[in-house]
Subunit: 202 residues, 2 copies
Amino acid sequence: MIKHATPDHPVHDLIARRWSPYGFDGRPVAREDVCALFEAARWAASSFNEQPWRYIVAVREDAAEFERLLSCLTPGNRSWAGSAPILALGVARLNFARNDAPNAVALHDLGLASGNLSVEATARGLHVHQMRGILPDRARELYGVPAGFDVVTALAIGYAAPAEDLAPPLRERDLAPRSRRPLGESVFSGAWGEAAGVLSSS
Amino acid sequence: MIKHATPDHPVHDLIARRWSPYGFDGRPVAREDVCALFEAARWAASSFNEQPWRYIVAVREDAAEFERLLSCLTPGNRSWAGSAPILALGVARLNFARNDAPNAVALHDLGLASGNLSVEATARGLHVHQMRGILPDRARELYGVPAGFDVVTALAIGYAAPAEDLAPPLRERDLAPRSRRPLGESVFSGAWGEAAGVLSSS
């Protein structure tokens, strides 16, 4: 299933083709693809090259570990994310390793890493659905996540299922068109709220 | 100048080729490229499709606005970032628009958007250097950034200068090889700190 963005300005195919499915088919993901996803995350930019991201990953082939990770999601997310062949938790180190000072962009830079992961996934025909609906305290306890690290997101990764194979309400969710605010409401110049002139047609 | 990552697992060219230069050459960026960068950011994923990102952008052709935005960077960043033809501030809305509840992934999702922007930049031969070294209070005052929004990052965008055209210390910085922690120190399975088995060669 292909669910393109409908951009007002042409963007690269790897940006336009990315979306977050609720339905995954059962196909496993090859080991080299899994490696590439996290390798892509590894090469993201970060403040002072801190690389504040950590991931905890479980593949469905390891049923016990997979169930354990799935149990760290909210019930609503557990109901669909279990169909994905790979689950991961995204974790951020809140202070810099070099001097223990607070890293104000720790979560931001985890986002850069997970964004890279999503681009690599798209390039390999895979999809990623990120979630905030997680049980961070449960994850901390189950995996022994130390103080100074926050469990921030979960990621369901795999091949998107054809929407027609899904039951409602997932089917409707995956068939819904993608939508975004107009660009001029997000990109300003000169003063807050003033649409950037460089983006308007001359 | 091309400064590839040295990945342990093959990753897409748009991931491997991205890096953050200190030296930019003076070439302006075409309007359609600027549009594409922010359009790519627009199509990032976000929690509840909140799209918490906002950007304030200035192009060098508009000298007064460019200087104003440049003045929101720390002196250290101001010294090199002024050579870029485009500067931007990355801003995050901290609460959800729909119910005013705190958005725990506001900064994370700004990272996803700026990551998309960087991928689009790479695809167009451009480079992005993101910074945390900014003066958020000054930016808030100059642009009238309202309460509930945080100025998080700055982005310098343009064509990377050949390192040999740069004076020290920028030259040395841009010639330094890229480095990252080994993957097994960031991606765990089963317990915190245990390198994920799926990533090791079988």
